[in-house]
Amino acid sequence: MNDDTTHEDYRDTLLEEELRRAAAILDPVPAELTRIAVDAYALHDLDARIAELTFDSVTDAIPVRGATDVPRMLTFTAGEVTVDVEVTGEGLLGQVLPPQPAGIEVLGGPQQTRSLTADTMGRFTTDTPVTGPFALRLRTGGEVVVTEWTRA
């Protein structure tokens, strides 16, 4: 490496630092988002089993030609328990499998929770639209299952 190369590298580094400063001034993390991320600590839940997102129509479905505004279909899986969710403009339409009653909380963030119940067939609905990040916390039998956080 000769001196010129070193000098050029040094100028690159200075420019990167300049960009870092510019980003801190012109495009910083919004303060409210940092606050929400700090509060998100409350969401850590070692007792619950996580139901992983195993199907998402946005990435896994083959698009139907000409179909517009198809509902978003999500499947979450934790061992033998499966939760199918359809996200529509009106709310959520869900199915717990194997069919069983469940207490369900719809989480919208560290501070937002709504409760509902799945009937004996494992079906549940919400009557208000879900927007942004959400997770479902299900109590079935003696177990708590939480779906992975996903954007509606």
Binding site: L19, I25, L26, V29, A40, H44, D56, G132
Partner: protein, 212 residues
């Protein structure tokens, strides 16, 4: 500040310290403390890694609403998986990769896509002043401030690849190349050469405008 196992020759050869709040080598220990119930450790993780997550989101040019949601989703999921993350010292890469996948989903879900060619961005700063900006004001900073805007404007006009890479590289503290790789889905080995090309392209643009 030291950086654990980063194969970033471009940095290591230089008289250049990566400043920042969180030593990346401590990230694993902070994750463990947070798992054990230490809220201060969680806060330190947020403060150290939040700019990285934000940079990933911004690099993908989402609308503000989508950007906010993706940022939150990444952090909520991180909190949720906290005790189950296999390599806690790579939490930055975990978050960057999660944010990237959520960004790609947004971009795929075209009906929600509204690109942020946000002409307000440069003007908006005057309303919501960051500490850095107040500092700029307090000095005789008209020229400096002009330079910052010029650099930013030229950066925004770079091609997608360079703009993406630089937007992630400029997060604070400087990300490791593994984190950049996770953020953009490019090989660690290609980051150094690409970084050099992009920074020189930007320098050439600034030179051409007589801004140096």
């Amino acid at each position: 500040m030291r950086l654990g196992t980063v194969p970033s020759a471009a940095y290591d050869d230089l008289p250049y310290t990566r400043g920042g709040a969180v030593d990346r080598a401590e990230v694993g220990a902070l994750v463990q403390s947070a798992v054990d119930g230490d809220a201060a450790a969680w806060k330190a993780l947020v403060e150290g890694l939040s700019p990285l997550v934000w940079s990933v989101v911004r690099a993908h040019r989402l609308s503000d609403a989508d950007a906010h949601e993706v940022y939150q989703t990444a952090w909520f999921r991180f909190a949720q998986h906290l005790g189950r993350i296999r390599e806690p010292d790579k939490a930055g890469s975990w978050l960057a990769s999660t944010a990237r996948h959520e960004c790609l989903k947004v971009l795929k879900n075209l009906r929600r896509l509204t690109p942020t060619d946000d002409p307000q961005l440069l003007d908006r700063v005057s309303e919501d002043r960051t500490p850095e900006e107040s500092l700029l004001d307090s000095e005789d900073a008209a020229a400096q401030s002009e330079r910052v805007r010029r650099v930013w404007q030229e950066f925004e006009e770079l091609g997608d690849r360079c703009r993406q890479l630089l937007r992630v590289l400029m997060s604070s503290p400087p990300p490791s190349y593994q984190e950049v790789s996770a953020a953009l889905g490019i090989a660690v080995g290609s980051i150094g050469p690409l970084r050099q090309r992009c920074l020189r392209r930007l320098r050439a643009r600034l030179d051409a405008r007589g801004a140096l």
